[in-house]
Structure formats: structure tokens, C-alpha cells
Symmetry: C2
Subunit: 226 residues, 2 copies
DNA sequence: CTTACTTTGTGACATAGTGTTACCTTGTAG
DNA sequence: CTACAAGGTAACACTATGTCACAAAGTAAG
């Protein structure tokens, strides 16, 4: 009732993916996706219903089911967009060569940046995962892929003697939960936190844990980036 | 229909809180709480309905509303029980004196122990928080109380020169998300992970971050506890 | 014991959301 | 201009919630 419009979701879904044939179907599909995006930007996922969603388009509620089998499928589509951004932002660390600390720092900076831009969307993903069984499976697979990648990277650095020889997988799982849920906590709702202190906190934790604390002076100003 | 019973929730709600007057009301209340406990032990919270819940008691569905205003209030009651266990298990660290590393280690061991015992209940709390607005507020207050306590403890140790002088709050927030969601990931579903490697991972991350990595030998066998 | 009264329990109802079906409409390819 | 598939709709069946008026059953007092 007292809702002075906040920020709008930045990602927009254009009707035509590649071919210039703008079908009516694609336009409605895009309208649904955009309406969903806008909705989760400012509302909890639990308040999203097919009815309220379609009310903000120019077609009726039951037309929704001509394009998606349910809300979970809409979220799945949006997640593919989010996933791309996250993978792009962090892949340096997994694949790059050079100073591992600097690579990690860069990867985390990218992750925090995406989290800051897409926070509410990220939050809605987790909410959708607890609401819908099928989407939960998709989300879990997403997180597990990170668990695997981070585990591999830790083990590779352990083989080179860069990281102490501990059981990599539980640490990877824990650090990934750290990232995901810290980003949601800090950037999932309006008003968002400042990204800088969050990046410093995450970088401190990851770097201390993996590469040791001797990287830090007394004041952590060496961590400043972005 | 085809439900071969898995493990049962260990916490039981006795009808009489303190006075020996066993009212009929208290018995039904306890039956509801126990049925809820049993349910979330083996099912996702989204599948919990008032109907299915009351079907496993000897009174009808609408009797539920004579005792609770909704499922969220049931979860609130169960959370008070869980909260007590967590606070008991971790309070050493916040208040104790002596070697901070050892205190932290003990606190985490207690936390992992509670998480291991109460994992599915903890998971259902987070699920309920994303489903119900009022319970979400309660859960957030719970997490914030930990954020405040950990922030204070870090700042106290920083004042003594035991911890490097970084911005304590974002680190406290991140480390608390680490704990909560790692415990849910590892112990929230059957079959649960082993507690030992999880404790080692959490201890490594907390201790490295706060007190430095020089505490660890090459193999982390010094961390073994329980 | 029985009367009066509060607590606990019930069936029926109103409401809100989901997903499906059978049937229109429209736009565009032949 | 017409055939017909794709897109859209209204109405329905279903499931869950929460409430209400009323019934039953404990309990306390006389």
C-alpha cells in the first residue's frame, strides 16, 4: 500500500533471441519473464502468484500455462541468466594462472559485483528452491557444481604446496555457503549494503583460510579493490 | 502411503511444563508439536499442511486453530527449543576466559553437535522463514543476535590485540551465515554427513580468519575433537 | 448430583490459489 | 480468402486456508 517504487531489475528480456522473427509468443514470454523479474526485485517470492503476475501483462491468467508449466519454470529460465553472470565473473580463479591470491581476489570481486547487481534475484532463487521441489533440485545442482570446482582448485593448489593439506571438500562446501548466503543477506533486500566491506570480509576469510593470514597487515587496506 | 519410517526426532514435548495439572489442552498442544517435529524430520516444510498434521492426531483439523494461529506459531514454539540448545552449546566462546582459540574450538564443537542432532529441524526453520513473513522476522532477529554477539567478541579481542584490526561486523555476518547454512547443508537431510570433517572445516575457517593460520600443522589432525 | 460455565472440538462455509479443459480468436502461410 | 495452428479465455475441479456458529465435554460451586 505504501510502496514508493524502488529500483528496477536491470536485466531485460528481449523478445527476439537471435532471429529477427518477432513472434507473438516470444513477446508474451518476454513479458512474463520481465514481470517476474520486476516482481521479485521488490517482493518476497512467496507473494508471487500466477494471477498477480499475469495481471501486470495484457493477457489473462490461464495464458501463462501456454508458455510455462509453472512458476518454477520461469525461475529456471531466469536462473540461467544469473548463472551465466556468476560463472563469467568467477572463472578466472578456477582456470587462471599466476598468483593464486590475486586470482582469488579478482574472482571474489566479480562475485560480489554480480551479487550486488543481482541480489534480489539471487534471493528469490533460494526462496524458490525451498518452495518447489523441482527447482530445489536445479539449485542444488548449481551449488554442487561450485562445490566441485572449488574442491578441485583447492586440491590442485595443495598438490603444488600452496595450500595446507586438509580435507578440501568440506571446506569448499562451507566457503560456497558462506558466499551465497552472505551475498543474499547483504544484497538480497533493499536497501542493500555497501559492496566494499562485504568484499573485504569475504576476501579475508577465503584468503586466510586457504593461503594464510600473513598476507594481511594490521589494517586491511591492502584489500581495497573494485 | 508407502512410508517406511526413518529416524524419529529426538526432542519430545511433554504435556506438563511444570505444574502437575495435565489439562486436555496441553496434551493436544503437545501432540501437535510432536507431530510437527516428526514431520519436518523426514519431509520438506513445504509439504507440511494443517490437514495432514492433524490427521496424525486424534482430533480434527479445525481444532488446530484453538491452539495455534497458524503453522508459523508452531514453528516459533519449536524454535525456542532449538534456540536454547544452540545458545547453551556456544555461549562459552562469547563469555569464557582463557585461550580464545580453544574457546572458539569448543563453541564450534558444541554448535556442530547441536546441528548434527537437530539438523532437519534447523533446515525446517529456514524453510519456514522463507514461507511465512512473521516467522521470517523471528528468524532474522535470531540470526542478528548472533551477528551482534560475534561482532562484540571480535571487537573485544581486537581491543586486546588478539585479532587483527579489520571491520568486525561484515566478517561476523559472513561467518554466521557460513555456520548456519553449512550445518543445514551437511545435516539438514538424511543421510547426514559425518560431523567430524564438518567441524574441522568450520574450525579451520574461523580460526584462520580470526586468529591466524600459524595454528595449523601440515595435517590438521590437531583439530580432532568431539 | 446437577447446574452453570468455560474450554475444547466439529462441520460447514467463504476465500484464494493452482492447473486443466473445451472452446474461441487471430494472424499469417498457402 | 481461407485453412489451421498458435495463442488466448472462461469455467471448472481441486486443494489448502482460516473462520463461525454450534456441540460436547471437562470442571467448579452449590
Amino acid at each position: 500500500m505504501s510502496q514508493s517504487k524502488q529500483s528496477k531489475s536491470p536485466l531485460r528480456v528481449s523478445p527476439q533471441p537471435t532471429p529477427p522473427t518477432i513472434t507473438k509468443s516470444a513477446r508474451t514470454r518476454a513479458a512474463i519473464l520481465n514481470a517476474t523479474m520486476d516482481f521479485v526485485w521488490t517482493h518476497p517470492f512467496r507473494d508471487l502468484t500466477v494471477g498477480s503476475l499475469m495481471a501486470s501483462t495484457d493477457v489473462g491468467r490461464s495464458a501463462f500455462y501456454k508458455h510455462f508449466t509453472g512458476l518454477y519454470e520461469v525461475m529456471e529460465t531466469l536462473m540461467e541468466m544469473l548463472q551465466g553472470g556468476i560463472v563469467d565473473a568467477t572463472e578466472h580463479w578456477y582456470t587462471g594462472v599466476g598468483d593464486p591470491t590475486a586470482l582469488l581476489q579478482k574472482g571474489l570481486a566479480g562475485l560480489v559485483s554480480v551479487g550486488y547487481e543481482q541480489g534480489p534475484l539471487l534471493r528469490s532463487m533460494v526462496e524458490a528452491a525451498t518452495t518447489d521441489e523441482r527447482f530445489e533440485a536445479i539449485w542444488n545442482r548449481f551449488m554442487e557444481s561450485f562445490d566441485n570446482t572449488v574442491t578441485e582448485r583447492i586440491e590442485a593448489d595443495q598438490a603444488q604446496g600452496l595450500i595446507a593439506d586438509f580435507d578440501a571438500r568440506p571446506v569448499a562446501i562451507a566457503l560456497n555457503r558462506l558466499n551465497a548466503y552472505t551475498l543474499i543477506q547483504e544484497f538480497g533486500h533493499h536497501p542493500r549494503s555497501e559492496p566494499q566491506p562485504v568484499l573485504e570480509a569475504l576476501a579475508r576469510i577465503w584468503i586466510s583460510t586457504l593461503y594464510g593470514t600473513d598476507r594481511f597487515g594490521e589494517k586491511s587496506s591492502t584489500l581495497v579493490r573494485t
